[in-house]
């Protein structure tokens, strides 16, 4: 059939299995929005308050579902507003297809109204991008964008479509959903070498990241840990891949990682790294990182091997397949001395933890634990960025894969509300957003979207009236110079804000109210906002100072 470019875009999205897109209309995508209108029974469009919110929503949708998220924006400012969202997805390897309109081919390069070179701008933050100059190439380009976004190490792809290409007509033939390009299999001799290193190890430690989630390989990883009797620690991006209460699980390691996880990793003689990229937040000082250990690094992206850390053995290939084969190659072993050392570290951690949390204040810990009583195993838990994010990463009891949705690599404040919209849309389930007053202030306009769509999103704002994470650094490393981190001067009334946007708001200012107010908040059907007043000087602990190593770990406040 002969269709316009705009129709072809929407038909191709539908053909590729896209059910929901997020976006915002504008001059150079009017045709595209007309095609969405005429197909509104086959594809849902969620209008956000701002294109950035739409990009985070598509990202949250992808993280919660494992499907490719799709976002649409107009040229110029619409396109540039996507940039932070695309970069966020890029750093965390999230499959995203961003579609932007552009000025007609004849006006490109003339600084026309709302013209920007968005393929140029997004070049370093996309896996690939396309400027489609010809309607005949449109459908195949969009299909190729899906292949690239979901194959190998996933990531964002942008397709820029000039207006005349949306108007022009050409034949369209529907195609089946594109398949992922399979990753190469890990080499057998390398796996054999890994098995040998594992056999020789007395203190093995499994350290995994988000790659295990995108490869859907947590079952295999746990099976390996069971067979070789190893503890498991993870990066922040790996959270929720295995249940927090799993006996082998030590939690996140690194800058704000669990004590037992970070110390365990330091004491190990072999670190089996799976789908993680040794970010500076995870390793601290690389010269002192894993001094006593050999490192095996298994990753889907060959370029990650020896990028940040020189592993003793690098294995590239499909993670699930590599682990399945590795399990067959290793001998069943017991490491009783090592595992009892790990138990000892857990006890030390528990004692430190009691000291920090034994208080009658309304602490982040109390708040997160109380919230968790109201959530199900499959509740998506979304965060913004800052102290609250670390507390959730540390304390929330994750039970099911893909339930922790957070901006790791880019650390995007303002990510949360958009991402929560996407997660709620993807799962159809009540979604919890933990945020701080700083992060929430960045993109709170998306409350409009939450109410417009009547989404079951519970927004828990930890309000300490400061930019807590930066304040913590200022306390520790900048002689309490609280430069521009005190928000007490802001007069934001979150209850009135909730009211203005048309959703119920609750405030918790004391520990005694916590349980009863949470009961009420979770009894609401639609969106709800809960503001919790916490102390401005709560710290995220433990903390490995930036560029530090395990000896520098701070486990309690000097002045507390």
């Amino acid at each position: 059939m002969i269709l316009s470019g705009a129709d072809i875009v929407v038909e191709t999205l539908i053909e590729q299995g896209v059910k929901t897109v997020f976006g915002y209309p504008g001059g150079q995508v009017i045709n595209l929005y007309d095609s969405i209108y005429t197909r509104r029974d086959r594809i849902e469009h969620v209008l956000t308050a701002h294109e950035q919110g739409a990009s985070h929503a598509a990202d949250g949708y992808a993280r919660a579902s494992g499907e490719v998220g799709v976002v649409i924006a107009t040229s110029g400012p619409g396109a540039t507003n996507l940039v932070t969202g695309i970069a966020t997805a890029h750093l965390d390897s999230i499959p995203l297809v961003a579609i932007t309109g552009n000025v007609p081919n004849s006006l490109i390069g003339k600084d026309s109204f709302q013209e920007v070179d968005i393929t140029g701008i997004t070049l370093p933050i996309t896996k690939h991008n396309f400027l489609v100059k010809n309607v005949e190439k449109l459908a195949d380009t969009i299909r190729e964008a899906f292949v690239i976004a979901k194959s190998g190490r996933p990531g964002p792809v942008l397709v820029d479509i000039p207006k005349d290409v949306q108007v022009a007509k050409c034949p369209y033939q529907p195609c089946p959903v594109v398949e992922k390009k399979p990753l190469k299999s890990a080499k057998e001799n390398q796996l054999a070498l890994a098995a040998k290193m594992i056999t020789e190890s007395e203190k093995p430690y499994i350290y995994y990241g988000g790659g295990v989630i995108s490869a859907d390989a947590s079952t295999e990883m746990i099976a390996l840990a069971d067979k070789i009797d190893a503890p498991i620690g993870c990066t922040m991006m790996g959270l929720s891949a295995i249940p927090t209460n799993h006996p082998r699980f030590l939690g996140m390691e690194g800058m704000h990682g669990h004590y037992a996880s970070s110390v365990g990793q330091d004491e190990a003689d072999l670190i089996i790294t799976i789908g993680a990229r040794f970010s500076d937040r995870a390793t601290g000082n690389v010269a002192k990182y894993a001094r006593r250990a050999k490192i095996i690094h298994i990753d889907g992206d060959r370029a990650e091997l020896c990028k940040n850390i020189n592993a003793d053995l690098g294995i590239s290939g499909d993670i699930k397949d590599a682990l399945t084969r590795l399990i067959d190659l290793v001998m069943e072993t017991k490491h009783d001395a090592w595992m009892s050392r790990i138990e000892e570290l857990k006890l030390t951690e528990a004692a430190q933890f009691r000291k920090v949390t034994a208080t009658d204040r309304l602490t982040p810990y109390a708040l997160i634990t109380e919230t968790a009583k109201h959530t199900a195993a499959d509740t998506p838990v979304v965060t913004d960025v800052g102290q609250h994010q670390m507390w959730v990463a540390q304390f929330y009891p994750f039970r099911k894969n893909r339930t922790f949705i957070s901006s790791g690599g880019l650390g995007t404040m303002g990510f949360g509300l958009g991402a929560a919209i996407g997660a709620a849309k993807a799962t159809g389930k009540r979604t919890v957003l933990f945020t701080g007053d700083g992060s929430f202030g960045m993109n709170l306009n998306e409350l409009a979207t939450v109410t417009a769509e009547n989404l079951p999103v519970t927004i828990v704002i930890m309000n300490n009236h400061v930019l807590g994470m930066v304040r913590q650094w200022q306390t520790l490393f900048f002689q309490q110079h609280y430069s521009n981190t005190d928000l007490h001067c802001r007069k934001t009334d979150f209850m009135k804000l909730a009211d203005a946007f048309g959703l119920p708001g609750y405030r918790i200012s004391d520990l005694s109210e916590l349980s009863s107010v949470m009961d009420k908040a979770f009894a609401e059907d639609g969106p709800v906002l809960v503001e919790c007043l916490i102390d401005q000087d709560e710290f995220v602990l433990p903390m490995l100072p930036p560029g530090g190593c395990i000896e520098d770990i701070i486990t309690e406040r000097g002045d507390a």
């Binding site: 070049l123 370093p124 896996k127 060959r302 370029a303 020896c306």
Partner: protein, 168 residues
């Protein structure tokens, strides 16, 4: 630190040079020279990059290049198995006191004079980088007025080809 040459076969698509050079910039790898040219196949261009770095940098560059969508082949042109060439055009002061010295240098280096005017002369020299640098060092005291170099191109000797689909 070692100097090496990487040949990259890329699909002839808009922006491909930017994609390649931006990767070097973004990841902090320095390029000594970069050339782009047509190849035996109309759909592909060849980018030759020469740079200085250790083995880990070289490995990382090759792997990052292979991730780029329009990049078809990446190969380190190993010195002993390859021919490297570079061309330089060097404009020198033409004066009676230096002319003879320049002409002897041109002769010894098997280069040639491609322009001659009352006050200037221009030398074209082709060869390996070391030869060109030796020539430059020789004529530098005589007054180089202007200079440009193509950067290195390289090709493997014998039956090795950059395009893995090519065979005899």
């Amino acid at each position: 630190m070692e100097r090496y040459v990487i040949a990259i076969l890329v699909e002839d698509q808009p922006g491909i040079l930017t994609r390649v050079s931006s990767m070097f910039n973004r990841r902090g790898f320095n390029i000594d020279s970069l050339t782009v040219s047509a190849t035996e196949d109309k759909g592909f261009s060849r980018i030759t990059i020469s740079l200085t770095g250790d083995e880990s940098v070289r490995t990382q560059i090759v792997r990052q290049l292979r991730k780029l969508y329009n990049v078809k082949e990446v190969k380190v042109m190993e010195r002993e198995k390859s021919v490297y060439r570079e061309l330089a055009l060097i404009k020198l002061r033409n004066s009676p006191s230096t002319r003879q010295e320049i002409l002897s240098a041109v002769d010894i280096f098997r280069s040639k004079i491609v322009d001659f005017s009352p006050n200037t002369l221009c030398v074209e020299i082709t060869g390996e980088t070391s030869k060109i640098e030796a020539f430059i060092a020789l004529v530098e005291p005589l007054g180089i007025l202007e200079m440009c170099r193509t950067g290195i191109v390289g090709i493997e000797r014998g039956c090795s080809f950059l395009n893995s689909e090519t065979s005899l």
